[in-house]
């Protein structure tokens, strides 16, 4: 089996051929192939710029892999700011001995994910580090997008705004947890990992009054809603039974004593929408497979500023807190 060697990150001939045979071949575009020290980009107007590093164990999981997340995650961060994703940088930090075939599968998956938005990888970097320095493979991507809708902000949310979630929550976190060594859970669970731009583009195209959007990645829905409540100094009231959670995610939560609100998502976003546009926003979202069960989950009030309240169908309520610490199972 072909394995990555230290020399392939060394700057010499071996590295050149790795870049040519793998990265240029699959990510091929005019700017990248110029192979200059920096990519030269033509952009008009305001841009959004973001960066993120991706580490995930296992590298491949049901519904995705580290490459798919590295592309979708950064593109989603741009989309959440109302920006059409254009360009990405991509840096691989590879542990010596990683199988070439694994790396190629990941690169192909990135290529496939890019096709959902039309964004291009225009520059990159490759390092191969001694065994044990990283866990198989880390990927960093930075992204640039042109702002199509200005003014989206976590600070922008107002009383009576409607809160929408784009699908059932928690599948990515639950999928990763289930595949973690030592838990050994089997299920048909599938990560929600997806590029959200097509749905966002449709919402913007139909002039939906969006105040804020955020993809509910690490920290899950609980983290996003709390950040919003604090940033906009409002109260967010959620009707718990309207938040969809699939059976398997519920099962994992029951087994380990965890909350679906705290699980990471990789293709689920939350929207704060002007009340008069909420219904229309749902109709638009429902056109997309990845948002097929988008629903209204609550609204913004002045009840308790800076807090998120979960309301039960039997008339009681409680605060939804931000997740804290390492996600450990409740045994007791």
């Amino acid at each position: 089996m072909k394995r990555l060697q230290l020399s392939q990150g060394g700057g010499g001939e071996e590295m050149d051929s790795l870049i040519r045979d793998l990265f240029y071949r699959h990510f091929s575009n005019d700017i990248l192939l110029l192979s200059e020290d920096a990519a030269v980009l033509e952009i008009n107007g305001k841009i959004a710029f973001t960066t993120d590093s991706y580490t995930v164990t296992p590298l491949f999981f049901n519904g995705g892999d580290i490459g798919k997340i590295a592309v979708a995650g950064t593109l989603n961060d741009l989309a959440m700011m109302g920006a059409r994703p254009l360009y990405l940088s991509c840096a691989f930090i590879i542990e010596e001995g990683l199988s070439y075939e694994v790396l190629e599968r990941i690169v192909l998956s990135m290529k496939d994910e890019l096709s959902h938005s039309g964004a291009k990888i225009v520059c990159g970097d490759t390092k191969v580090v001694p065994k044990g320095s990283v866990d198989q493979l880390f990927i960093n991507t930075s992204g640039i997008g042109e702002i199509v809708l200005e003014g989206l902000s976590a600070h922008n949310i107002q009383e009576d705004d409607i809160i929408i979630v784009s699908r059932d929550i928690g599948t990515h976190g639950a999928t990763i947890l289930a595949s973690r060594e030592g838990i050994d859970l089997e299920s048909a669970l599938c990560s929600d990992c997806a590029t959200l731009w097509p749905a966002v583009e449709a919402l913007i195209g139909e002039n939906i009054g969006i105040r804020a959007m955020r993809d509910a990645t690490r920290g899950g829905v609980a983290a996003v809603l709390n950040e919003w409540a604090v940033a906009s100094d409002v109260c967010i009231e959620i009707e718990e039974q309207t938040v969809e959670v699939c059976d398997e995610v519920r099962g994992i939560c029951e087994l380990l004593g965890m909350e679906p609100f705290e699980f990471a998502n990789e293709g689920t976003f939350i929207l704060a929408i002007h009340p008069s546009d909420a219904k229309r926003a749902i109709e638009i979202l429902h056109r997309f497979n990845m948002c097929a069960n988008a629903s209204i989950i609550g609204k913004v009030t002045r009840h308790k500023a800076k807090r998120v309240i979960l309301k039960s169908p039997w008339g009681s309520s409680r605060y939804l807190e931000r997740p804290k610490g390492e996600l450990l199972p409740r045994i007791c």
């Binding site: 289930a178 299920s187 519920r250």
Partner: protein, 94 residues
């Protein structure tokens, strides 16, 4: 203390282990602590990787009947209370 979730036995494996299903999530658990013979289709309580007892499904369904009666009784009372309220409504012109 002590989280424990009803799960269904879907497979009996070797070494006194079983595969259980909790809402579509499957895992292997030990049957070392089971007093009675465990069979496929039984509902058991799982705690940290062990089945610790069976759940009496019939008993749960009995509870359900009691609760259903309780809901009907409550609805009936609320209906009466509403009629009562209505009867005492001062604005009502007969």
């Amino acid at each position: 203390m002590c989280l424990s979730i009803p799960s269904k036995i879907v497979e009996i494996d070797e070494d006194n282990m079983a595969t259980v299903d909790t809402m579509g999530v499957r895992r292997k658990v030990s049957l070392d602590l089971m007093s009675d013979e465990a069979a496929i289709g039984d509902y058991v309580l799982i705690h940290i990787g062990f089945a610790m007892g069976k759940i009496d499904h019939e008993d749960a369904l009995e509870s359900l009947k009691v609760y259903e009666q309780m809901i009907i009784a409550m609805d009936e009372e609320e209906r009466k209370a509403l009629i009562d309220q209505d009867d005492h409504c001062s604005n009502r012109s007969l």
